[in-house]
Every structure is written in structure tokens, then in C-alpha cells.
Amino acid sequence: MTKPIVEIENLCVSFERDGARTEVLRSVDLQVRRGEALGVVGESGSGKSTLFLAAARLLPPSASVSARKLQISGHDVSRLSRSKLTAIRGATIGFVFQDASASLNPYLTIGRQLCEMVEQHRHAEAPRAMELAEQELAAVAIPDPASTLHKYPHQLSGGQRQRAALAMALLAKPAVLVADEPTTALDPTVQAQVLELLGRLRRERGLALAMVSHDLGVVAGICDRVAVLYAGRVVEEAAASSLFSRPRHPYTAALLASAPRLTGLRPSRLAAIPGTPPRPGELPTGCAFAPRCPRAVSRCRSEVPPQITQNESRFSCFEPLGEPA
């Protein structure tokens, strides 16, 4: 077994708000292995984004982070100094976000920004840097890379901006790329193209990918393994194929049953999980999903279900759904 690229053990994150602390991640364990694509799914506010921002130590000072282990490609991220961390960050963990403008500077040309990335991480100087930048734009399938180098972010379409942000992250040669809702803001045709591109880059470069999304369809198409987050905890993790065909945790099953589809008879309503997730700081005692869970028994309301590990998968539930056949 090769050593995982990302190793997270017992990660807890809380935010200070109006003098009070609210816990948004609670003893999370997670690994991303070499060359693998891990999907992280969950409803809005479940902590998906916070998870990887914490792993890269990119959270604001109002966050307090503790973990037994926080390692990215062998570096102990929790012990590194700020300056060392900044120096290695792009080369260990790269990000693309829903809003590409978050990673692009509106006042600099794409070429200038990409070159800075090359100079910082690959120690190449112009004109070699410009050459590498152009190659990377071609690799992410931007039409006419040479002229794109001279453009500003606002001169690109949404899909092209997302590709440019991706090129920028890739230029640092990250060990793992975190794609946080990378296609949510794009229209479906462009979304399909960007997903196809991510899948291809992964295969060609052996890139490890962590795909964060509330859209199961997006994750299903590209990920080998999936972790399901609910109210700041990983409630289930398994190989994508078994998680989608035989979920064990009732929340995973509910998410799958409510995933919109276009086959079958026309439904008169969309399937929805009843109720809403608990607000951080207002968690029920026992299992956090209990108020919405169709399988809840009285024990679920008093005790937190322990994690059960079986083969390559795990879940936390007192009344799991049937075992895989």
C-alpha cells in the first residue's frame, strides 16, 4: 500500500462567532490516496469546503483547528511555519473553486498570473515561464492559448475562466487538486466539458483529486471513492460503486433517492429529504440525522452511533441498511 497523499485524523474545526464557538467539523478522518479521485458530498453547510481549507491551513484566524494528524505529501501541515507553508502550498495542494474569480486577479492578465505561478513553484524565468503557461492553457483545452495569455479574466467566458483557474493550479504541480463545486455555476454543456477535462487530466497525470460537491451526479461520474458528510461528520465512506448501489447509512440512501433523474415516468414532485440539516451549534444529542431519519429508534436520540468499519468502507449508524449482497 502506498502512503496516502492527504492524511487527516481526528480533525475538529470550530469558528468563533459573536463570542461563541460553534463546531463545524467533528473528529473527521479522511485520506486521499495517490492517483485516486475522492468525492466529498453533503448538503450546504455540512463542512465540505471547510475540510480541505483546514487541511491547507487556509482558514481565517477566527477558526480554531485541531487534529491528531494533518499531513499532505509527507509534510506535517500542522507544524509547518506560515512561510514554509506558503512556499509549499501550491505544490502540495491546489484548489479550484466554484467561483473562478476567487483564484484569479482581475487586474492582471492571465499570462502574468500564470507566469508568477511558474516562477514561484518551478523556478523558470520568462520566456520559458510564458512557454509553460501557454502549454498549460493548451492542456486545459482553452481555444487559442497564445492570445488568452494577453487577456484579463473578465474577457473570458465562465467556462474559460474556470479552465484558466485550473491551469493556474496545475502549474504548481500539486500532489492533490481540490475541486470545490468546480462546475456548479456553469451551464450543463460546459459543466460536462469541464468534468471530462478533470477526468482526463487525472488519468494522464496520475493526479489525485478531491471533488467537493452537493451534486451526486457530478461525483458519480468521476470519483473512485466517496465520503458523505453530515453536520460536520463523515457518516459513510465507501467505493463509489458500492456506495451508489448499496448505501448503508440512511442519509446516503436519502441523498441518492432524492438525486434528480430524467428517466422513468414524469414525477409530480421532486423527491426531497424532509426537514433541514441542524444548524451548527444546535446539534441534537445522539445521531445528528435522527430528526430526519426514517429508521431512527429511541437509542439514536441519546447516543452518538460509533463508526463501523467493514473491508474498505465505514459508516456510523445504529440501524444501517442491508448489507451488500
Binding site: A192, V218, G221, F244, A253, R261, S268, R269, L270, A272
Partner: protein
Amino acid sequence: MNAPLLEITNLCVIRPRPSGEPLRALDRVRLRLERKESWAVLGESGCGKTTLLRTIAGLIPATSGSIRFQGTELIPLRGRALAQARLGMQMVFQDPDASLDPRWTIAASVAEPIPQIRGAERADRVERLLRDVGLDPSLGARFPHELSGGQRQRAAIARALAPDPKLLLLDEPTSALDVSVRAQIVNLLADLSQARDLGLLLVTHDLPSARVLCERALVLDGGRIAEEAPFEALLAAPQSQTARRLLAAFPAAPVTAPKNSVL
């Protein structure tokens, strides 16, 4: 009176461009929406979907053509007459903040379109509207930033319903929402359109939601109609390249209902 709810013929919106040909944002678009009917307007980014909705709502001037709403031609109307004719159609945007003033309470925003109703009756009406969209009336006292995204979208729908419209123009009302909140809003719209005999014109790229809400679909490409068909027929046998592309981009089926499903 048997006039259709909304009848559009030969609608063109042409925008001059500094260089080259003027842009035909809408090119001879026609549609006929009967009372209580729901249509989806589909197409890729930039195809003219939002322009169509905004032109109907009067937010963009039409270059030529006709827009009849409940039998009244809207294009020549101005000022009060236009506002009056348009009370029967209300718009809901992707971003609920577009219709909720951040400095106003939710109740004030919901009541704004009905200035003629005052006092206790007004408060009653707002309370009923909030209940109708599944919001606890106590939330009326809050400001938009004190609500979640889903609650804000519900409030925006309550406001649109205030003047008791016959047609809702919906511009990507669920695209910014999480899957489960999205389902709740789509189901709310399905219930409301039933209960209130509403017609819907829904611009979206969210095909499953459009399928629940709409009987017919209009597919636009480059400002023109590429296809118009009953929604189910479009799914089963798309005729145009554009419709085929849209359907192909829908994340294909690794997500099927699990065998041990609980819902």
C-alpha cells in the same frame, strides 16, 4: 373571454454592437401559453433565455413584435397603464436578493407590491402569503441576511404572489440552491401553481425540475426557437441538435435509485 394567458409573436430584440453586425438577442420568437399552462425555456448560456423573460417582464425593450398578456398588447403601453397590465405577471429571479431590499424587513418587501391594501388587512395578507410559501410568519420581522438562501427564495416567491398574479416568470429560481432545498422550492412551486391556477414560464438549465413543473418546452439557440414540444416528447425524442446536446450533458445515470432505498 378565451384569449391565451400570454401570446408572443415575432418578438425581436436587436442590440447594436460597436463593431460588426447588430446582435439578434431574440429573433422572431413566438409562443402561446394558455391559462394555467407551464412552459420551460431551455438552452445553453447566451441563447437568449433570460432576455426573453426580461423582455416579457418589461425590463428590456422589444425591438419589434407583439406581447399580448391576457388579451392586452403590452408593447405600446407606458407608465401606469403598463404597470397595471403587468400586475398579473410577476418575476422571480435566481438571486432572491434581487427582489428583497436588504434594508427592509421580509414583511415590508412582501407587502410592497400591494400598496392599496393597508392596516390590519395588510398584515393578515402578508402572514397568509408567508404561510403559503412555507415560512413561519415570525420570520416576517427579520431582514434578508438573517434568513438562509432557501428561506430568502421562499420570501421572494411570497412577494411575487402578493398581487395575486396569473403568470410567474421564473429565471433560474433554483440554480443557486443546494439539492434538497431545491427540491423543496420546486415542490412549493408545483403546489402553488395548482392551488392558484398559475401559469409558469420557467427559464432553467435544471431539467429534472423543469420536468416536474412544465408541460411544454421551448428550446432556444442563438435567439431563435430551435424546437418546441411537450416536455416528455422532448426527452423521449429530441428533434433538434440543440435539444440533443442539452440532454446529453445531463450527468448520465450512475446515480439510479439504490436498491435498498428508504424514501
